[in-house]
């Protein structure tokens, strides 16, 4: 089996994977990163969105082997020292979730949007989230939350964000990391 080395949320993992393993499966079932979910299985819904080298991708449409040597950020990599990322906090404060299943993907895509366009208007938010579906149809508050987050994330408005220097150097996975596996094949 191919061996891959991937940095996920600041930790470097080396694993053997089957070529057919999807990135989302690898994240959930081998690394226990179950914050990233599988929604539709047809590449439509965007619930599985993560960042690959800083750009949003649907992790159901990337093979784990394609991520070899790349850097992945998932929803689990956003909080810092127990503090929610401002985008997460905005979703919380604006009631931007109902069932919550689309939320991880919505947040990861919203961050990608703000990286390209830090102050999107309402239409631009809707277009930027085009690849993410909310089955509860709770779009109003999602759009509100993203615009609110763009305020909070303006330069000088708050603590350093995702793209700032990491607070600690990348580390290698320990057995403890893997012991946290709670989903996928173990659930």
């Amino acid at each position: 089996m191919p061996r891959i080395t991937v940095n996920v949320d600041g930790t470097t993992y080396t694993d053997e994977v089957q070529p057919r393993t999807l990135l989302v499966q690898y994240l959930r079932e081998q690394l226990g990163k179950v914050g990233t979910v599988v929604g539709c299985d047809t590449s439509n819904c965007g619930a599985c969105t993560v960042h690959m080298d800083g750009h949003s991708v649907k992790s159901c449409s990337v093979l784990a082997v394609q991520a070899d040597g790349h850097e992945i950020t998932t929803i689990e990599g956003l909080a810092r020292d127990g503090q929610l990322h401002p985008m997460q906090q905005s979703f919380h404060d604006n009631h931007a979730l109902q069932c919550g299943f689309c939320t991880p993907g919505m947040i990861m895509q919203a961050l990608d949007l703000l990286a390209e366009n830090p102050e999107p208007d309402e239409q631009q938010v809707r277009e930027g989230l085009e690849g993410n579906l909310c089955r509860c149809t709770g779009y109003q508050n999602i759009v509100r939350a993203v615009r609110d987050a763009s305020e909070r994330m303006r330069p000088g408005a708050g603590p350093p964000m995702e793209h700032s220097e990491p607070t600690s150097p990348p580390r290698t996975a320990t057995e403890q990391d893997r012991a946290q596996v709670t989903g996928g094949q173990h659930s």
């Binding site: 159901c60 990337v62 394609q66």
Partner: protein
């Protein structure tokens, strides 16, 4: 769903990729950005023995100028196309069409060459490639050959590419100074075109000197609306001229009926969208 098992190779040069394809023949599938192939594999609509991933072949990526040609590597992502200053200046139509492809996540991974080789009749990039008179540079075991877009698209999801061939790059003339617009009609977010129209127009002193019009999803392959192009030549760039010319949009097309639209509705859309695309492209 999870794809069926396959072997995987990630060559780092075109030669290595060619060698792998030669050996595997029809049992191999080329993986470009994977935004069409992976869903197909997951739904088990294809079952290749070998997947050849071009993602680690740097020579297939990027945009450059070579003499009178704009050269776009087949593995250049949609996102890279959108941000490229050469494309913005010399092939604006391509950038405008690329903006309408799928959604941001897919545009980060999906590639220009992959979209062309996939040849989905509802895909948004074959029609602009045809309208912009692109040439496909194809590598095979006996060297390279060049196929014009007008001969590259053969049928539904079928191109002139043989199983052991690889689309290396796409060359097109400079369309500097041409007005352009891609008018796409679809019903919901991130959906394929019901019909799309790619239009590029060069005006001279208020008259239309030249025009190129390509249609998406008006047949098994992209269609060049030559009747429209000819009706515009030398005419003033006005809404009357465009309205008259657009009546020719559906000539020679063979659209299908499906859940999105019947044949006559697609023909109607072709005319209306051609009018809109030309109006914006010509600034009329």
């Amino acid at each position: 769903m999870i794809p069926a098992s396959f072997d995987y190779i990630a060559p780092t040069t075109v030669e290595e990729a060619m060698a792998a394809l030669d050996e595997a023949g029809e049992d191999a599938k080329i993986l470009a950005g994977g935004q069409s192939l992976l869903p197909v594999l997951r739904m088990r609509l294809a079952d290749p023995r070998l997947v050849v991933d071009l993602g680690r072949v740097p020579e297939l990526r990027g945009v450059r100028q070579e003499g009178d040609s704009l050269v776009i590597g087949s593995m250049t992502s949609h996102h890279e196309v959108l941000g490229d200053p050469l494309i913005r200046e010399h092939a604006k139509l391509l950038a405008l069409a690329t903006r309408t492809v799928a959604d941001p996540q897919v545009r980060h991974r999906g590639t220009f060459g992959g979209s062309l080789a996939h040849a989905d009749p509802a895909g948004d990039l074959p029609a602009p490639a045809l309208a912009l008179e692109a040439d496909m540079v194809i590598a095979g075991s006996s060297g390279r050959r060049v196929v014009p877009a007008s001969e590259f698209f053969v049928d539904y999801f079928t191109t002139a590419l043989q199983p052991n061939e690889l689309l290396v790059e796409v060359r097109m003339p400079h369309w500097t100074g041409w007005g352009a617009h891609y008018e796409k009609f679809n019903r919901v977010a991130q959906a394929w075109s019901v019909v799309g129209v790619a239009a590029a127009v060069r005006t001279e002193g208020g008259a239309i000197a030249e025009a190129r019009v390509g249609l998406t999803n008006m047949g098994p392959t992209p269609v060049r609306a030559t009747g429209v192009e000819q009706a515009l030549l030398g005419r003033p760039a006005t809404s009357e001229t465009i309205r008259e010319a657009a009546r020719h949009a559906a000539e020679g097309t063979s659209p299908t009926s499906d859940a999105s639209a019947d044949v006559d509705y697609r023909e109607h859309l072709a005319e209306v969208l051609t009018g809109r695309a030309l109006t914006t492209a010509a600034g009329a």
